[in-house]
């Protein structure tokens, strides 16, 4: 999160805390992409991800007084979203075994990305177990470094690095397998 965006978030935070609904709306608009995408790529179901993301923002509204800064807000949102997603996956284990077709809507709409490649990678990421998937999402979706990921997920930096290493090699292997089987 840039310094300017963080300052803007802090201003909206102060106003939202004073009861300004429009300011809270701006906070939601700023962070909804990150929260929704994390939820979507964790639970692999658009409707469930929307519900989960909305609950995260409702929880934020109830806990606005506990948020200290714009950076803390982004950290808090990621942490709560991933904790809620992991809880949901524990309660509904079938969500974790997502079928390949269910990856629709999980793929980014970036114009410069190869849609087929993006779809395959998204599907493979969705098949990873919850903890390494969360690590991978924080690394590549949120662009966090291992120390920040460790802080967000309450893991050691070594565990984060090991998850990243294993997940990347697993993705390489699985991608090679799918590429071979499709030719």
């Amino acid at each position: 999160m840039s310094e300017e965006a963080s300052c803007q978030s802090e201003e909206w935070l102060t106003r939202a805390l004073a009861g300004d609904a429009a300011a809270f709306g701006m906070l939601v608009r700023t962070h909804q992409r990150s929260v929704f995408s994390l939820a979507l790529r964790m639970v692999s179901d658009r409707q469930k991800a929307e519900d989960l993301a909305q609950e995260v923002f409702l929880q934020l509204h109830r806990n606005l007084a506990a948020i200290e800064s714009g950076a803390h807000l982004a950290f808090w949102l990621r942490k709560v979203t991933l904790n809620r997603s992991i809880d949901r996956l524990r309660r509904e284990p079938k969500l974790e075994a997502m079928p390949l077709d269910a990856a629709d809507g999980v793929v980014s709409e970036a114009e410069d990305a190869d849609p087929l490649l993006a779809r395959r990678l998204s599907t493979l990421v969705a098949q990873l177990p919850a903890a390494p998937r969360a690590v991978l999402l924080l690394r590549y979706q949120e662009d966090l470094d291992p120390t920040e990921i460790a802080r967000t997920l309450g893991m050691s930096v070594n565990t984060v690095k090991s998850h990243l290493k294993r997940s990347l090699s697993l993705l390489r292997e699985r991608f090679a397998d799918t590429a071979r089987s499709s030719t």
Partner: protein, 116 residues
């Protein structure tokens, strides 16, 4: 697949915007929750106030009933004591009378004995 898996993953995992409909849903839910929580304290305060009043009334009534019971018990005790004193007085009087009768009869008997 390009050699740079990092870049491919970054491209594949770019955040997806859920759209303005999502924002509006969140704001509507926040508004509903705020209205509900604004109503809840009022209900809570009213309930609390009535509960306090009911408790106070119950306490006062309890004290009054206990006091009345205590007064009645003391009164009954006093009445019983009075009746006992009265019964003892009557018994005493009767015993006195019997004693006097017995004493009055004894000299007559002792006077009749020597002449028999």
């Amino acid at each position: 697949m390009s050699n740079d898996l990092d870049n491919d993953l970054r491209a594949a995992l770019r955040p997806v915007d859920p759209g303005e409909r999502f924002t509006q849903s969140v704001l509507a839910r926040v508004a509903t929750e705020s209205t509900r929580s604004a109503r809840a304290p009022k209900l809570h305060t009213t309930t609390l106030r009535w509960t306090s009043v009911a408790l106070a009334i119950s306490l006062v009534m309890g004290i009054v009933v206990a006091h009345q019971w205590q007064v009645r018990r003391t009164q009954r005790g006093l009445e019983a004591r009075q009746q006992l004193i009265q019964a003892l007085q009557l018994t005493g009087e009767k015993l006195d009378l019997a004693y006097r009768v017995v004493n009055d009869e004894q000299p007559t008997q002792s006077a009749a004995e020597p002449g028999a």
